[in-house]
């Protein structure tokens, strides 16, 4: 690739390292529990949206069913821990592997579908997962799973008295998701994905293995989202099917990337930093007693941003291109 591209990538890496360092120091100055909670959620959504973006943004296969992988990650972690005493660290990895395998098994028939047929297939598959978990008695059915919390421990990754360990884990997860994207962007896969997104027929004729590219993107994307799901189960220590596998969740995961800039490296974190604090603030200050003002503000914002800046907000930060 040309020098300009190589320079941009080096600059991206330096900027990311600086941002991570600043974020890592932030808890020294922020001691308020509410704000810390918002920071954890912001980082988690940045990680989730970045992972969603690999399949939907880079590879162009729009999934509105990623809640399935998030839920599978959360349930694998919680079930392994509560039923078999397996530590959440292994649970998160296990959930990631299970989700990646399921993503590929589902991708096998689904990746032949185009456009809205594909999008609707992702929605209904996640809904089937939701309904099955809601009726699966052993896994707690609709009531969900209460993860017993005893004391602060890195071994069981439970911290009833502090948000900080969760904060650092979420930061690490967001950093990993970002770095994986950064790395893939310049790999063979990254170029394949963009080719598949722009014109699958042309890509195929030039020797890109379209089907394998989609499968690879689905596996990476599902793995990372499932690890996020496992983290979420530990963070809230209570999960139920609707809250980790509902359709709304698939949309919430996609939104930061859409708002920030779909198919871009910085879109998801930028979108998360804008959307999540805004959501939490409107919910706390205006959402009281189900008045719905939070929904009105949030929905209007989505409409306005998607109409005014279809390419996402990330372009606002780009330097004018040198000719």
């Amino acid at each position: 690739m040309d020098e300009h591209f190589a320079n941009r990538r080096r600059r991206d890496l330096v900027v990311a390292a600086c941002l991570i360092a600043i974020a890592a120091l932030a808890p020294l100055f922020v001691t308020d529990v509410f704000t810390q909670n918002v920071m954890v959620l912001t980082l988690m959504y940045a990680a989730l949206s970045q992972s969603w973006n690999i399949l939907s943004g880079y590879c162009g296969q729009i999934s509105l069913g990623h809640a399935l992988y998030f839920g599978l990650g959360a349930y694998t972690t919680a079930l392994l821990f509560t039923k078999f005493g397996v530590l959440p660290w292994f649970g998160m990895l296990g959930g990631g592997v299970v989700s990646a395998l399921i993503a590929m098994a589902l991708g096998y028939p689904c990746f032949r579908l185009r456009g809205h047929y594909f999008v609707i297939a992702t929605i209904v598959i996640a809904e089937i997962g939701l309904l099955l978990f809601q009726n699966w008695t052993w896994a707690g059915a609709a009531l969900g799973i209460d993860i017993p919390v005893r004391h602060d421990s890195w071994l069981t990754f439970q911290f009833p008295r502090s948000k900080l360990p969760y904060f650092y884990f979420a930061l690490a997860l967001a950093a990993v998701a970002w770095f994986v994207t950064w790395w893939l962007e310049d790999s063979k896969w990254g170029f394949w994905w963009r080719a598949v997104k722009d014109n699958p027929e042309a890509a195929e004729s030039l020797g890109v293995v379209v089907f394998d590219s989609k499968m690879g993107a689905a596996a990476v994307s599902a793995f990372l989202v499932a690890v996020g799901g496992g983290f979420y189960a530990q963070f809230v220590s209570y999960i139920d099917p609707e809250s980790v596998m509902g359709f709304q969740f698939s949309l919430l995961m996609a939104l930061p990337a859409v708002v920030g800039g779909i198919g871009t490296l910085w879109g998801p974190p930028l979108g998360a930093v804008i959307l999540i604090p805004l959501t939490e603030l409107t919910r706390t200050h205006m959402g009281g007693s189900g008045r719905g003002i939070d929904l009105i503000v949030y929905g209007s914002l989505i409409v306005l941003i998607s109409l005014a800046r279809p390419q996402g907000l990330v372009g606002l930060f780009a330097r004018p291109r040198k000719v």
Binding site: I120, L295, I296, G299
Partner: protein
């Protein structure tokens, strides 16, 4: 116990519900066929139609059967306004056109739900008494609820009317022509925006009709649209995008499959059958049953 009677009984109810699903979905299919846009606020269109019916009943004691034409007319205006204010700009987007359409209409759906919560509160409402509500007729030992029967009749009439409208009127032909080539119709003096706005109006009016009938036998609350929206997308995609009458067939299949699933699986899993049939159909025919795109 599965007897022949229970099977016939539930398939008959499934057929009636399926015709209604077709009516709910046809507006979506019309709009998609016209301009390749999936309206992710379709369920919320249904929701406001149900509220409109409820308030006409609560304030003016108007029976849902009488208010149905009024609600359809109101939704017509609403649909055209949504096109002119939002969708017109969404389809112009040069980048990420697909995502912009999904998320601008999804944002609208959230706003509408928020407004409904704000003005109407999250309480469950219902039309407590109406001409048809709660009545059933029995045909050869099979009980059919009258509201659903009326819904099925309205659905069949609406599809008949739509067929006549699309094939026999000037506006229908303009609609069809714009669908095929929006650029070329401009050359013969058809205003694309006008046709699209009327198409959105018509699509919304049809879901308005469905909402008025459904208000008779469903609870009305701000999130009521969500569950029907997903069924509508599946119905339209099952029938095939681009085919308005595919939605009619899709609706009937969805209704029957739902009823059949409820016979063999716990009722809470009845939607699994619909989703499984959708997947099965598109895996075999990636364009749905009658789809052209």
């Amino acid at each position: 116990m599965l007897t022949a009677e229970t099977i016939i009984q539930s398939l008959a109810s499934g057929l009636l519900m399926g015709l209604l699903y077709g009516l709910i979905a046809v507006g979506l299919a019309l709009i998609f066929g016209l301009m390749d846009v999936v309206n992710f606020a379709h369920g919320e269109f249904l929701m406001i139609a149900m509220y409109a019916t409820f308030f006409l009943f609560a304030f003016f004691a108007l029976d849902p059967l009488l208010s149905a034409p009024l609600v359809a007319a109101a939704l017509f205006v609403f649909g055209a306004v949504v096109y002119l204010l939002i969708v017109r700009f969404a389809v112009r987007a040069k980048a990420n056109a697909g995502m912009v359409q999904i998320f601008s209409t999804f944002g609208l759906a959230i706003v509408m739900r928020g407004l409904a919560q704000f003005f109407f509160t999250p309480d469950y409402r219902s039309v407590t008494h109406s001409w048809l509500g709660g009545k059933t007729i029995s045909v050869a030992g099979i009980f059919l609820p009258e509201p659903q029967l009326m819904g099925a009749a309205v659905a069949i009439a609406a599809f008949g009317g739509l067929y006549f409208f699309i094939n026999r009127t000037d506006f229908g032909r303009a609609l069809e022509a714009t669908r095929e080539d929006a650029g070329a119709v401009a050359l013969v003096g058809i205003d694309k925006n006008r046709v699209f706005a009327l198409g959105w109006g018509l699509g919304a009016a049809l879901v308005g009709l469905a909402g008025a009938i459904m208000a008779v036998f469903f609870y009305i609350y701000p999130d009521v649209g969500a569950s029907f929206a997903l069924i509508s997308y599946v119905t339209v995609a099952l029938g095939g995008f681009g085919s308005v009458f595919g939605a009619f067939a899709g609706g009937i299949i969805v209704g029957l499959v739902e009823a059949a699933t409820a016979l063999v699986l716990p009722p809470s899993l009845k939607s699994v059958g619909i989703y499984a049939v959708y997947l099965l159909v598109v895996f075999i025919r990636p364009r749905g049953l009658f789809g052209s795109m």
